[in-house]
Symmetry: C2
Subunit: 309 residues, 2 copies
C-alpha cells in the first residue's frame, strides 16, 4: 500500500476530469468528492471506483455536461431529472437545493430521477451536516440483494446501509458476522463464497428486505424515475437511478450542539464488550486525520492506471 499526499490525489483526479472535457468548476467539485471519499477511508467508492467512472464517461453512460432540470414543484417538495449527468455532481446539487428549500420552508425534499451512481452516499450527509442541516437521503440501485426468503437479486441495497464486503475480500479477512449465503444456501462469513453465490444478506434479514423495498418505492414514486427492477444488474451499466434528498433546517434550534454532544457522551460510556462502541462518523474522523497526516493510502495498480490516463 502506497501513501500519497491529499493534494497529489486531488490534482491527478482533476487533471483526468479536465482531460475528459469536464467544465473546470465541475471538474474540481467532482475531483474533491472522489478524493475526500478516499481520504475518509471509504476506499471502495473513491479512487478505486474512479476508473469505472472514467470508463462510463467514455462509453457515454454518464453525460458530463448534463445538469439536473426541475420537472415539478409542490412547495417544499421538488422533482428533478438528472439527465444522466455525473452522479456525484447531481447528488451534490440536489442536496444543495434541498437545503435551500429547507431554509425557505423549514424542510425540503428533492426527488431526483435519471441520475448515475453517486459514489459515497455519505458525502451528501457530510455536505448537509457541515452546513448545519439534518439530512436523510437514499438512492435506489440495480438489483443486488435477494429479498429475505429469495435466492435471486430483486432488491437494491441503500445508503442507510453502507456495506463494504469487497474491502474485506481484498484484505482476505472473514466478515465479523454472517454476511450472506454460500452456493449451498448456508449462511457464511466468507466474502468470496458470498460473491460466488451472489446472495448477500439484507441488513436485519427480513426487516432490511422490507426496508429496501419501501425505500425503492418512495424514491421511484417521488422522482417519477425508475425502480430497482428496471435498472440493469450490471455495475458497468447501472444508470437511471432514483434518489431522495431530505433536508431539515436545524439552525433555529437552540442548543442543538449540546443536545447531540450529551447523547453521544452517554452512548460512549457504555460498558464495553470486546468490540469498541462507536458513533457513526467517528471512525471516519479518525481515519481522515490519520490519512491527512501520513498520506492517503492508494492501491498502486489503480493509482498507476489513473496517472497513465
Amino acid at each position: 500500500m502506497l501513501r500519497i499526499p491529499y493534494q497529489e490525489l486531488f490534482d491527478n483526479l482533476l487533471r483526468v476530469l479536465l482531460k475528459l472535457g469536464f467544465e473546470p468548476e465541475r471538474a474540481r467539485r467532482c475531483a474533491q468528492l472522489f478524493a475526500e471519499t478516499t481520504r475518509d477511508g471509504v476506499y471502495s467508492h473513491g479512487l478505486n471506483r474512479f476508473p469505472r467512472f472514467v470508463s462510463q464517461v467514455q462509453s457515454g453512460i454518464i453525460n458530463i455536461d448534463a445538469q439536473p432540470e426541475l420537472v415539478a414543484a409542490s412547495g417544499a417538495l421538488e422533482r428533478w431529472d438528472g439527465r444522466l449527468g455525473p452522479g456525484p455532481l447531481n447528488a451534490y446539487q440536489s442536496m444543495e437545493r434541498a437545503m435551500g428549500l429547507s431554509r425557505e420552508h423549514g424542510m425540503g425534499c428533492v426527488a431526483l430521477a435519471n441520475t448515475t451512481h453517486w459514489m459515497r452516499g455519505g458525502s451528501y450527509g457530510w455536505q448537509a451536516a457541515e452546513a448545519g442541516f439534518i439530512a436523510i437521503c437514499w438512492t435506489d440501485t440495480m438489483p443486488n440483494l435477494p429479498p429475505w426468503g429469495a435466492s435471486d437479486s430483486r432488491i437494491g441495497n441503500n445508503p442507510l446501509v453502507i456495506a463494504v464486503p469487497r474491502s474485506y475480500r481484498m484484505r482476505g479477512e472473514p466478515l465479523p458476522v454472517d454476511g450472506g449465503f454460500n452456493r449451498e444456501g448456508l449462511l457464511t462469513r466468507d466474502p468470496a463464497a458470498i460473491e460466488a453465490s451472489n446472495r448477500p444478506l439484507p441488513i436485519g434479514y427480513w426487516k432490511g428486505s422490507g426496508l429496501a423495498l419501501m425505500l425503492d418505492m418512495i424514491a421511484t414514486l417521488l422522482s417519477g424515475g425508475r425502480a430497482t427492477y428496471q435498472i440493469p444488474p450490471d455495475p458497468e451499466r447501472e444508470s437511471h437511478l432514483s434518489q431522495v434528498f431530505i433536508a431539515l433546517d436545524s439552525s433555529s434550534l437552540a442548543s442543538a450542539d449540546q443536545v447531540a454532544e450529551q447523547i453521544i457522551t452517554h452512548f460512549q460510556t457504555s460498558q464495553r464488550s470486546p468490540e469498541q462502541v462507536r458513533y457513526p462518523g467517528q471512525q471516519v474522523l479518525r481515519i481522515r486525520s490519520e490519512n491527512l497526516a501520513k498520506g492517503i493510502p492508494v492501491e498502486p495498480s489503480i493509482w498507476n492506471k489513473v496517472k497513465a490516463i
Copy 2:
C-alpha cells in the same frame, strides 16, 4: 386461545376507556387503535398491552385529557408538545397534522415532544397510507438495546424496526436467526436467554446501532424533547418520548398505484428459498382478514382482566 368478534373487543375497550374518564370521541379513537392492532396480528401492542396502558392512566403517567400544543412553526416543520397525553391519540393527531402540512407545502413534519408510548408504530403508517400519503415516522424509547460493541442498554429500538421477540418467547419457539446474547456473551436464538441477559441485538449489528443513535438525535433535536438516555429504563414509567412524523403528499403523482404494483410484482416473483418472500404489510392483510372472519384471538387471562375492569 379464545377468538372473539372484533366488535366485542372494540366495545369492551371503549367501555373501559369511558370508565377511566376519556372524552367519548377520544375513547372511540383510542379503542379503535388498540383493537385494530390486535386485529392485525400485532398482539404485543394491542389488547395484551392494554392493561399496562390502563395502569399508566391510573398512576398518572398518562394524562387522558392532555392534547398536543403547538410550540414552534417554520413552514412545513412544526414542533409540538404532547403534554403526556395518551400516546396513540397524540401520534394519530400528529400524523393528521403532518398530512395537513403536506397538503399545503408538498411535505410536512411534526416533531412531538413529551408524549407517551404510541403502541403499534405501524398504526400511523396505515393511517397515512390509507389517506394516500407517504409517511416516515419514528419514536425514541427508553434505553432497551446495547449499542454494537457494548453490553448495557444505551440506545432505543425504533419503528422502522418492529421487533416482537416476546411473542416468540410466549410461544416457546426459538428465533429464526440470532437475536441477541446470552449471559455468557454468546449469540443465541433463545428468546428467554436474551431476555435474561438484557442484550438483544440491534438490527444489522453496528449498522442498526448507529441508525438508532441517529434517529434518537433527530427526534430529540427537532422536538426539543428528551433523548433515550433521559427516559427511565422501566416499561411502566416509559414517558416523555420524542417522535417525528413526516408525510409526503403523493396524491398529485400520476400512476402511483401502478408503479407500486409493478415493484411488488417483481419482488414477489423472486426464485423462492424455503422461506416465503413477503412485502411489508402483506402478512398483516392476511391476518386481518382471517381474524375478522374467525374472530380476534385473545389471551383468556388478559381478556378476562379487561372485562373485569
